[in-house]
C-alpha cells in the first residue's frame, strides 16, 4: 500500500470530483453557487469597488432616479444607493451567518445529546424548545432586543435563539433514529465510549439534513435581520443595511421614487433565494449515498 487508503488527500480529491459531478447534474446548483460567490465577493471587496462613499450625503442630488452616474439612483439625503446596497452586503451576511453558526452549533449539539442520552437532558431541552416555539418568533426577537438593547452582539444572539428550536428538534429526531443502528452497536463492541459513539458515529451521520436546514435558515435569518432593522430594532442608521434602506425608502414609494426601496429589497430577495437554492445543492453534496 503506497499511502493510507483513507488519507486526507484522497478524501479531498473525491469530494472535488463529486462536487463537479453534482454541478453538471443540476445547473441550478451552479447558478446558486455563482450567486453565492458573487455575494461573498461583494461582502469582502464591496467597500473598495463602490463608486461613491456610502455615507456621504449630497444636498444637490436628493432622490434622483437611476442614471448613468447613480445606477440605482440616490436616496433622500443624496447618498448613492448602489454603493449603499453593495456595502451593506457584508454586514447583512455577517450577522446572519454568525447567528446561523451559533444556533446550528448550540441547537444541533443540544438536540443530539438529548436524543442520544435521553433522561433529564432530553426533558430540559424539549421544554426549552417548546417554550421558545410557543412565541411568535419575530415578536419574541423584538422582545429580547428591547430587553437587552440593540447592539450587534445582541442582534446575533437573538436571531440565534429564535432559530435554536429548529436545529434542536431536527438533531434530536435524526439521532433518535440512528441510536439503535447496527453500526452503533458495532462501535460499542469496538470499545467506543458513549460520548465517542455520539461524536464520531452518530452525529456526523445526522449532519446532511442539518446542513440543508442551515442553508435554508440563512435566508430566513437575513430576513429577520432586515426585519428588525426595518422596524428600528436592528442596526442603526446611517449604517448601510438593507432593512433600514427599505424602511427609509418605503416612505417615498407613494410619491413615485420607487428605487430607494426597490434595490435594497431586490438585493435581499436575491440573497435569500441564493441560500435556499444552495440548500438543495448542499443536500446532494453532503449525502454520502449520492457519491458515486
Amino acid at each position: 500500500m503506497s499511502a493510507p487508503a483513507s488519507g486526507a488527500g484522497f478524501a479531498l480529491r473525491q469530494a472535488l470530483r463529486h462536487g463537479r459531478h453534482l454541478l453538471a447534474e443540476n445547473p441550478l446548483s451552479l447558478v446558486a453557487f455563482v450567486m453565492m460567490v458573487s455575494f461573498l465577493g461583494l461582502a469582502l471587496l464591496g467597500q473598495w469597488i463602490v463608486p461613491f462613499d456610502p455615507l456621504a450625503s449630497d444636498a444637490t442630488a436628493q432622490l434622483q432616479a437611476p442614471s448613468r452616474v447613480h445606477w440605482f439612483g440616490t436616496d433622500q439625503v443624496g447618498r448613492d444607493i448602489l454603493s449603499r446596497v453593495v456595502v451593506a452586503t457584508r454586514l447583512d451576511l455577517a450577522i446572519s451567518a454568525s447567528a446561523v453558526v451559533l444556533s446550528f452549533a448550540a441547537g444541533s449539539v443540544a438536540g443530539a445529546c438529548a436524543g442520544f442520552y435521553g433522561g433529564w437532558l432530553e426533558r430540559i431541552t424539549s421544554r426549552v424548545v417548546d417554550t421558545i416555539m410557543a412565541f411568535p418568533l419575530f415578536v419574541l426577537a423584538m422582545g429580547i432586543i428591547v430587553a437587552v438593547g440593540t447592539t450587534l452582539t445582541n442582534i446575533i444572539i437573538t436571531i440565534a435563539v429564535i432559530n435554536f428550536p429548529s436545529y434542536a428538534r431536527m438533531a434530536r429526531a435524526e439521532v433518535n433514529v440512528r441510536r439503535e443502528a447496527g453500526y452503533v452497536e458495532a462501535a460499542r463492541l469496538a470499545g467506543n465510549s458513549p460520548g465517542r459513539i455520539l461524536a464520531l458515529h452518530v452525529y456526523p451521520n445526522c449532519l446532511p439534513p442539518l446542513i440543508v436546514q442551515a442553508s435554508m435558515n440563512m435566508g430566513w435569518a437575513m430576513l429577520s435581520v432586515a426585519g428588525l432593522s426595518f422596524i428600528g430594532l436592528g442596526v442603526r442608521p446611517p449604517t448601510p443595511e438593507w432593512g433600514i434602506m427599505v424602511s427609509e425608502g418605503a416612505a417615498f414609494m407613494i410619491s413615485g421614487e420607487w428605487w430607494a426601496a426597490f434595490f435594497p429589497g431586490l438585493a435581499l430577495m436575491l440573497a435569500v433565494l441564493t441560500f435556499n437554492l444552495l440548500g438543495d445543492a448542499l443536500r446532494d453534496l453532503v449525502d454520502p449515498r449520492r457519491r458515486t
Partner: protein, 325 residues
C-alpha cells in the same frame, strides 16, 4: 483450563411495554455453556429472543437477572459502558445480520476495521494500523484497493467481509454470528460461510451461530440450542438433534426443512393454534402450549424444565418424563 469458555446461567431480560406496566419476557431463564473451540448453533423463529440473548452475551444489553461467565469470570454484572472499556471487550465480538446497517456510512472500510484496533488494541500509529488492517483484510480476502471505499461503494458480500474483518481484528475468543448470511444473495452466502468455517480453524475461535436457517446450522454447528419464546426447549449435538428431535417444536421445525427429493414421502408437522404472547406469560404454562400438537393437561399446570435424554441431549417437555420416548 477445564471449564467452558462461556457459561450462561438463568439469564433473563425483560422489556417494559410502552404505556403499560406489563413486560415482554424476551429471554426467560436461559442456561447453556459453550466449550472452547466449538460452534454452537442457536435456532428459533423470529421474535423468539435469539437476538436479545446474543446481545446479552455480547454485553450490548444489561441482563435483568442471571449470570454470564467468560472463562469462569462473571461479566454479566459489569455495566455495559464499563465493559466496553474493559480488557475483556476484545474477547467477545459479533458479526451482524445486515452488513449495510452495521457499517458506519461515513467510515471507509479501512476506518471501520481500524476502529477496534485503535480503541481496544492500542494501535494508534497510522503505519502499524495500515499493516494490521491489511493483514486482517487479507484473512477475509478483501482486496486492498477496496479499503478506501465507503460502505455503499461495496457489494453486500464485500460489506460483510468488512464486518467480519472488524470483528476478528483482535482475534476474539468468542465470535457471535447473528444470522451473518441471511441478508446476502444465495451465491454469496456460501462463500461467506466457507470463509467463516475456514477462519474458525485458522484462528481457533469459538462460534455462537444464530440462524433461522436449519440447514446452515446443521452444516456448521457442533451443538444446537432450539429456542422458543424466550426459553430453550431442546439442546444437543447437531447430528442427534436433527436426526432424533424430541420436542414437538423441534420436530415441526425439522419437518419443515425443504428436501430435494420429490418422490420421497415425508410427513410435515403443521403447527396450528395461537402462539402465547411473550407479554407477562403465565409462569406455570408451557410456552409452546397454544401450538403444541401433543399437549395435555399437565402442560397447563407446570412449565417443563430441561431434562437429560442421553449423554448430552436435553429436552424440556412433559412427554419425555423419565428419559425415554
Amino acid at each position: 483450563m477445564s471449564g467452558p469458555l462461556l457459561a450462561v446461567r438463568e439469564a433473563r431480560k425483560r422489556f417494559p411495554v410502552r404505556g403499560t406496566r406489563r413486560w415482554v419476557h424476551a429471554v426467560d431463564g436461559v442456561n447453556f455453556t459453550i466449550e472452547a473451540g466449538e460452534c454452537l448453533g442457536l435456532v428459533g423463529e423470529s421474535g423468539c429472543g435469539k437476538s436479545t440473548l446474543v446481545r446479552l452475551v455480547a454485553r450490548l444489553l444489561e441482563p435483568t437477572a442471571g449470570q454470564i461467565l467468560l472463562d469462569g469470570q462473571e461479566i454479566g454484572s459489569v455495566p455495559v459502558t464499563e465493559f466496553a472499556r474493559g480488557p475483556l471487550r476484545a474477547a467477545i465480538q459479533m458479526v451482524f445480520q445486515d452488513p449495510a446497517d452495521s457499517l458506519n456510512p461515513r467510515f471507509t472500510a479501512f476506518d471501520t476495521i481500524a476502529d477496534p484496533l485503535a480503541r481496544l488494541g492500542g494501535v494508534k500509529d497510522r503505519r502499524t494500523q495500515a499493516e494490521r488492517v491489511a493483514a486482517v483484510a487479507d484473512l477475509v480476502r478483501l482486496p486492498d484497493e477496496l479499503l478506501g471505499r465507503l460502505p455503499h461503494q461495496l457489494s453486500g458480500g464485500q460489506q460483510q467481509r468488512v464486518g467480519i474483518a472488524r470483528a476478528i481484528a483482535l482475534s476474539p475468543k468468542l465470535l457471535i454470528l447473528d444470522e451473518p448470511t441471511s441478508a446476502l444473495d444465495v451465491s454469496v452466502q456460501a462463500v461467506i460461510l466457507h470463509l467463516l468455517v475456514e477462519l474458525r480453524e485458522r484462528l481457533g475461535m469459538t462460534y455462537l451461530f444464530v440462524s433461522h436457517d436449519l440447514n446452515l446450522v446443521r452444516l456448521i454447528s457442533d451443538r444446537v440450542l432450539v429456542m422458543y419464546s424466550g426459553v430453550i426447549v431442546e439442546s444437543g449435538p447437531a447430528g442427534e438433534v436433527f436426526t432424533h428431535p424430541y420436542h414437538p417444536y423441534t420436530r415441526a421445525l425439522i419437518s419443515a426443512i425443504p428436501v430435494a427429493d420429490p418422490g420421497g414421502r415425508r410427513e410435515r408437522i403443521r403447527l396450528i393454534g395461537e402462539p402465547q404472547s411473550p407479554v407477562d406469560p403465565r409462569p406455570t404454562v408451557c410456552r409452546f402450549y397454544g401450538r403444541c400438537p401433543e399437549r395435555f393437561d399437565r402442560c397447563l399446570r407446570e412449565m417443563p424444565a430441561l431434562r437429560a435424554m442421553g449423554t448430552s441431549h436435553e429436552v424440556a417437555c412433559h412427554r419425555y418424563e423419565g428419559g425415554s420416548r
